[in-house]
């Protein structure tokens, strides 16, 4: 058996896991991150929703129900986590726009608005009302992006289609990273003689230099340019993941891809190691503390059976909203499905409540009572609780 020793083992490679990992690695701890695949953050819009129920996210948080895990994080820590995120993203070359006190609007592919707090700079120029006229550029063969949906909701919108030679999201984004492609595209765009106020694109403007590409197009055409998030594959989500991942590694963290955890070694009230599946020797990875950031159902942290919900790594007690009939409302599109409250209950230091373990700290979407869909608080909660969990973890080790 291969055995490796670390100070902290992070379980899960999403926004919460990578943020907690970079926080600790940046303070000199030996950190390993273990994941059984890429996170759902890759599928997200890349926007950091903190609390979308109020124009002021911080005021929105205060109005959340008493059991919401946001209340476990002091406002100072929430602010720090957002400031730190913006600094990291600027450093990594994908800057974010926004402030903790005011939400922004992002135009969706259906022409509706989505409310978020921090948004990629490529969505900075999104009109915040319906007054500005927009011209949408889409790409021949690109699936699941139909400007007509937007046109039906915005009177002052038009669209044009460009043939990029490839039709997949990744393929087009990859082409935009090439200088010659970008130049010939800009020539074509100039020929369109666009009269509308702003130019909108599905979010396919590059893999890693999107900010630069958006600015280049805007400078050549002389009009503000912005991206509209698409359904997956989602470039802004992938850029977010790649930047957080590279930053974690820059801080000295190790990542173990495709390490599904199959067992845990424990002694008394302490988790000593996690074991992971492998074709060859089983791997065992030791740590003084463990940060559980595996996400909820889609992320793979929780599994729902017919009548019960289980946590997949430590088999922690899961807070269930009630018997199965309370899990789902009749309306599929409802924000009030009971299942949104399932997760791990924690104490004030984010240790799992009602369980003996002293060195597990929980953060992100796996927490109980988040109701992420209803409250619009996904990545924002992940950032805030990741900081909190990392701080508790640091105190535990010292």
């Amino acid at each position: 058996m291969s055995v490796t020793e670390y100070d902290v083992i992070i379980l899960g490679a999403g926004v919460a896991g990578l943020t907690a990992g970079a926080f600790l690695a940046g303070r000199g701890f030996k950190v390993a991150l273990v994941t059984s695949g890429e996170p759902t953050a890759c599928l997200s819009t890349g926007c950091i929703d903190v609390c979308s129920r109020n124009n002021n996210p911080l005021a929105g948080i205060k109005a959340l129900p008493a059991e919401h895990p946001f209340h476990l994080v002091p406002e100072k820590t929430i602010r720090e986590s957002l400031d730190n995120f913006q600094a990291v993203m600027t450093y990594m070359g994908i800057p974010y726009t926004g402030a903790a006190e005011e939400n922004r609007l992002v135009l969706s592919a259906l022409g509706t608005f989505k409310t978020s707090c921090l948004v990629p700079s490529t969505m900075k120029a999104v009109p915040q009302d319906t007054k500005d006229s927009i011209h949408i550029i889409t790409f021949a063969g690109l699936k699941d992006f139909y400007p007509s949906y937007i046109l039906s909701r915005r009177k002052n919108a038009k669209f044009s289609v460009y043939d990029a030679g490839v039709s997949s999201t990744m393929g087009i984004a990859s082409h935009f990273e090439e200088k010659e492609f970008l130049e010939s595209f800009i020539d074509w765009l100039k020929g369109q003689n666009i009269v509308e106020d702003k130019i909108a694109f599905p979010a396919v403007l590059g893999l890693e230099s999107a900010d630069e590409i958006v600015q280049t197009i805007a400078a050549h055409i002389g009009k503000p340019v912005f991206e509209i998030p698409t359904i997956p594959p989602s470039m802004p989500g992938r850029r977010l993941f790649n930047a957080l991942k590279d930053y974690f590694r820059k801080k000295g963290g190790d990542i173990y891809w495709e390490w599904p955890v199959i067992g845990v070694e424990k002694s008394g009230k302490i988790i000593e190691a996690v074991m992971t599946a492998s074709t060859g020797r089983p791997n065992s990875i030791n740590g003084k503390a463990f940060i559980l950031a595996t996400g909820s159902f889609v992320g793979g942290g929780l599994t729902a059976g017919r009548d019960s919900i289980t946590e997949n790594i430590f088999n922690l007690p899961v807070h269930s909203p009630g018997p199965r009939e309370t899990w789902f409302e009749n309306d599929y599109f409802s924000f009030n499905h009971g299942i949104g409250r399932a997760g791990i209950k924690v104490d004030s230091s984010l240790r799992p409540a009602e369980s003996p373990w002293e060195n597990i700290f929980v953060c992100g979407g796996i927490l109980a009572d988040t109701e992420i869909l209803k409250n619009g608080c996904g990545h924002g909660l992940a950032l805030a609780t990741a900081h909190m969990a990392a701080q508790s973890c640091m105190e535990h080790i010292r």
């Binding site: 695949g37 490839v166 990744m170 891809w257 060859g280 793979g300």
Partner: protein, 396 residues
């Protein structure tokens, strides 16, 4: 995991290097789990596009649901290979081991011939691309000095693989010296091609033949108390994963349990306090291109950890790009355009680091990235050797 576990999230699609550049390849989701439900044992395979998959396995690493698109596609490739006649290029690359043995034996002539106009015309007629130079055969192959093993030292049998053996025996020699300097006894067991080129070119039977011979040989060494070491990450992946998963080789589990990546093994020696390497300062900035098959091995990046112990060395890890060559994939005319485009992207990312040289564990990644970028390429073992002051004594 069953293909029906696919939730169609498209994370695999985001990771596919081929789909980005070749619109004819429908991507891992469609070619893998989506198409799988339409594949029937009673109908002839018509999905020729499965051959466009380069088997980088990035989709498998990314899948959050444990589905293995590359494996599903590999099986479809085998099936397609069985039912259709192979192109000559496929046939040649499947038998790369025998051709290379011949090339190596006649190195001075073979190398010169490959560079002539007629040589190039023959390559073109076989639909083999030459956008990067073919690696040069080396006449002198790998050998080692037998010595009486010290009873207390660790013993390893080195599976050096075709690339080192036929093209870069100097790297093999450095690895042997490196291990000796760590007080590890090294033997070179009888060995054949790992089988991956045959598997990748649709010849399961040939791949199994190689695998059976290797398993028999390596198994004897394991019984005699040796650990098996590989330095080529694609050989390693084949030994550890494909022997068990794809080829159903008896004893494959035993091989998998006792086989280590070279740097994983050295790191283990450090962790066990068996050695305390005294690295000298190396003032260099390197870009470490992580080969797709190192990622797929699921052992982390052990060479990166070792190189991080070298004072003065700046080494930036880049693991988002496939080099595009994927063994013999890019050498086929039908894949050339895709391979070059994927390679260009990987090189653009490397050049952003400002590094003067590229490190990669895999010989074919180095051929591709070095060929396209014009930058120097190094095996991690060469970097470690440099930091430990190991140089090869030239034999006349």
């Amino acid at each position: 995991m069953n293909f029906e576990h696919c939730i169609r999230c498209t994370i695999c699609v985001e990771n596919c290097p081929v789909m980005r550049v070749n619109p004819d390849f429908p991507g891992p989701k469609q070619a893998g789990p989506d198409a799988q439900r339409f594949r029937s044992d009673r109908e002839k395979a018509e999905d020729e596009w499965v051959l466009l998959c380069s088997q980088c396995k990035r989709c498998e690493m990314a899948c959050p649901c444990g589905v293995e698109p590359a494996r599903i596609i590999l099986k479809a490739q085998q099936r397609y290979g069985l039912e259709h006649t192979h192109s000559l290029a496929h046939l040649l690359f499947a038998n790369n081991y025998y051709l290379s043995a011949l090339g190596s034996l006649t190195a001075p002539i073979a190398n010169r011939f490959a560079a002539t106009k007629i040589g190039k015309k023959i390559f073109a007629a076989l639909r083999i691309s030459t956008y990067i130079p073919f690696p040069k055969f080396r006449f002198r192959k790998l050998s080692w000095n037998k010595r009486t093993p010290n009873r207390r030292s660790r013993k390893v049998a080195f599976f050096y693989g075709c690339f080192i053996n036929f093209y870069r025996p100097d790297i093999g020699k450095k690895i042997i010296q490196l291990l000796k300097s760590f007080n590890v006894d090294v033997v070179l067991p009888p060995q054949w091609c790992c089988g991956l080129p045959a598997l990748g070119n649709g010849n399961l039977q040939l791949a199994r033949n190689f695998a059976l011979k290797n398993t028999a040989s390596l198994s004897n060494y394991i019984d005699a108390g040796y650990d098996i070491l590989y330095s080529c990450t694609s050989c390693g992946l084949c030994l550890l994963h494909d022997y068990q998963d794809i080829m159903d080789i008896p004893k494959a589990k035993k091989i998998a349990e006792n086989t280590y990546d070279l740097h994983e093994y050295i790191l283990k020696l450090v962790d066990d306090n068996y050695i305390k390497p005294q690295f000298q300062e190396v003032r260099r900035k390197l870009a470490y291109h992580i080969p797709c098959h190192l990622r797929a091995l699921g052992i982390g990046y052990p060479a990166a950890k070792l190189m991080s112990m070298i004072p003065g060395l700046e080494c930036e890890i880049i693991d988002d790009n496939c080099c595009g060559l994927s063994g013999s994939y890019g050498f086929k005319k039908s894949n050339e355009a895709a391979a070059i485009q994927i390679g260009n992207r990987a090189v653009a990312r490397i050049k952003k680091t400002g590094a003067a040289a590229i490190v990669a564990d895999c010989g074919s990644c180095r051929m591709q990235l070095g060929g396209i970028s014009g930058l120097a390429t190094l095996d991690p073992a060469e970097v470690l050797s440099e930091a430990l002051g190991i140089t090869l004594t030239k034999k006349k």
